[in-house]
């Protein structure tokens, strides 16, 4: 049974404390972000934890926001695709996807971008297998993944060579 409640709690998203209004206590983080907090970047494509389109980072863990109760994420640091690029610019990962041709319909893209930021922040020099494993929870139906993998390798190389763009600040 649902109820339209007005429980008010707040979530820390992309470094800002945002009040959540008009949510009910069972609402997923995906829909709270999308429909209560005006952050529609994370996409819902299965709501069953099978596609990764809804990926966000909670306290340095990449999670499917469709499987997380929003209310349970109080007090955690949540990062979404909207908070990765500094000042409205693209992050290095986003730019690398653009350069490599890693985007087609774009619906899976925010989930991939978040997952790749998460991967590279924890593992700056991933092997091909590690990249594939890290992204195996993200489904892309358009690209066949080749260009996405190229993009990840590119950005890893440029980060290691020190020519990383502006992402670190943006990503944190």
């Amino acid at each position: 049974m649902t109820a339209i409640g007005s429980e008010i709690y707040s979530l820390n998203v992309n470094g800002r404390e945002l009040p959540v209004r008009d949510s009910w206590i069972g609402e997923s983080l995906l829909f709270v972000l999308r429909e209560r907090l005006g952050l529609p970047g994370a996409k819902g494509a299965c709501e069953q934890g099978e596609c990764g389109s809804c990926t966000v980072i909670i306290d340095d863990k990449a999670v499917c926001s469709c499987l997380v109760l929003a209310a349970s994420a109080q007090g955690a640091a949540i990062r979404t695709v909207e908070g990765l690029g500094p000042d409205g610019r693209l992050s290095d990962v986003q730019q690398s996807f653009l350069d490599a041709g890693g985007v087609q319909c774009g619906f899976c893209t925010p989930g991939f971008i978040v997952a790749v930021h998460h991967l590279l922040d924890g593992n700056p020099d991933p092997s091909d297998l590690e990249i594939k494993e890290a992204l195996s929870g993200n489904i892309c139906r358009c690209t066949g993944y080749g260009r996405i993998l190229d993009a990840v390798k590119q950005v890893a190389v440029s980060r290691r060579s020190g020519s990383r763009g502006d992402s670190k600040e943006g990503a944190r």
Partner: protein
Amino acid sequence: MSLVGAKVLRKEDPRLLSGTGTYVDDLSPAQCAFASFVTSAEAHATIDAIDVRAALAIPGVLAVYTAADFTDYPDLPGGLPTLERPALARNTVRFVGEPVAVVVAEDRYIAADAVAAVTVSYSPLKVMTTIEDATAGDSVPLFPRHGSNVITIVPTMDDLEKELAKCHGRASLHIVNQRCAAVPIEPMAVLADWKPDGLTVWATFQAPHHLRNYLATWLDIPQMNCRVVAPDVGGGFGSKIVWYPELFIAPVISKLLRRPVKFAQTRTEAMMQMAHGRDQVHDIEVGYEKDGTIKALRLIVSQNLGAYGDPTGLGLAVLTTWMAAGAYRIPKVSTSFRTVVTNTTPVAAYRGAGRPEAAYSIERIVDQVARQTGLDPAVVRQRNFIPPSAFPYETHNEAVVYDSADFPAALAECLRIVDYDAVRAEQKARRNDPSKPLLGIGLSCWLEIAGFGPNGSLEGFGHLASWESAQVRIQPDGSAIVYSGSSPHGQGHETMLSQIASDELGISFDRIKVITGDTAAVLQGIGTMGSRGAPTAGSAVKVASSRVLTRAKRIAAHLLEAAEEDLEVVDDAFNVKGSPGKKVSWGDVAWASFQPLRIPPELQAGSLEERLFQESPNFSYPSGAYACVVEIDRETGDVTIRDMVLVDDCGTVINPLLAEGQVHGGVAQGIAQALYEGVSYDSSTGQPVTANLLDYLVPSAADLPDYKVGRTTTLCPNNPLGAKGIGESGSVGAPPAVINAIVDALSEFGVDHIDMPATPEKIWKAMKSGGNS
């Protein structure tokens, strides 16, 4: 420098990468209600009663509607007479997931609770999910008025028995091309807002004008008051040009409730309600001579339509029989088909739509000829190819005249890249080494029909026409807006069409904006399907742009007091050749073009605008040669693709980044069909067993190989760009390459064929039983 042919980065990406793209479910106007379907839990049943009282009692539920509330509206468009599909099931349900009632509530959670509170009582009828069951002696008709479950039969005039009997040898295969789900990553979503001055519908759809045309008729409102918008669309692959009930029901609900209303499918709903693809059964037989040349081909196709006759679903087998002979010169070809309804989700176009099925069967049987003659599969192909000199090539069907190709060159390039002789040698060496996995090499020299199409072709699928529109409009500052009737869903039209317009107009890429997908902005349109974007929409933009440039030059010449012939356009300016400095900017010309006092007397103000409907005299025929090298674990039957070589010929390449992206994506779907995917049903109950992404195996990055890409080019002579289209190539070419490789690897076990998806279990069984499983 020409942008056509250059690797230009995509314009649409910044918004998509940053999460600021707009898909239908991202829109939430104030007061938006949420609608959700009560769907049939039975595959075949009569509806005895629907009890909505408990649902209506839930706070926040606004309404519940059933078929009884839609008696003023016609059935969904496009069905055959006697095969009508109402927007909500009326009396009978014919597949699990068919909408029976619709609940409207304040939000999606209340709607979900209300759906669960609706009780429908059914009297079950006999369930038939396969062609076999639906045509068996004890079958019952899904549509009693139609009588039989066989909907169309197109018999052959001549079964070629005589020709086949005359040949040195005959090869035949029974081939199942399994049912697949398109699985665009964005499920169906529609938002309707009925206002006193007109209706606006946002839908994730491949052809918004097509929807506008049919929706207005269905609602009995003038098209001028019916605006359809396809915003960013999260993939389609054919599944978003189908008349789903919610597209028609949402506007009616919005009208009744006087508020915007949204439907957004869950994945499980999408797996059951979005049209599936393929699901054909083939009996293919060829007669060949000792040297491997094929003299006669007979193809008998049965198409499982699912529960209703979708207009494109009914046409799939036509395309399959058209393309039956593939890249080969076969003197006698005989085809026939029948279409059959069953208690399953309706079948319609899925990336390739009828051509992957054709390519798969001809490429499998050519390998079988090689097997039976002991010749190399590459040699059999070379001996049967239509030679480059034979184009345009008239096929067994008068509607099908191949435009251009060089099959020998494509195969040669493919063999070179895969290093064919070396892999064959390695395979030979491994035969006697059980410590190594089995090795197999598969070829696929495919060709398909695309660029839909000549006048009359898309009309046959219910479209208004087969042209595509372009409108090129110069703004007073010399920037340009290009409107295209081809509404994309990931193809990169904004980039592709900007490149073409930029080359023609001499206006820089960044000063061109492409607008698609809104019937209120784009004059008319057909849509994006059948690999028609570049050949039709691209050509339309090219021709319209060049006409605008002609008039712009006249104005520039007038302003410069120079001769038009002496002008060239470089860097957004018109220069007088040989007179450095004597020039006028595109912006000045554009500004002047709106000022009657500054333009030549024969032109009118605002003449730097052109609208055009680009017709095509013929289809286009993309082709290619693919090779796949697989390794198979002798213990488990697990397949690893070691190499995948893709040589494509799509005529003119507008942007290699986009073209290769299309190939990669299509090949991924082709490999997925060959190895992983398949929609299945419990045959006794008709319950789908692959209704989510856990059970239906869409591959992830970890499941797919890297690709080696090559290219040959024969221009399409039938459009000004020379482009053939590339959207479907990969999904046509990949499955036979993969399966041929697997069958090749299994040859030492006496395996002649293995049906898709070639799961480890199937392969393991084939190894154990020598193919006689």
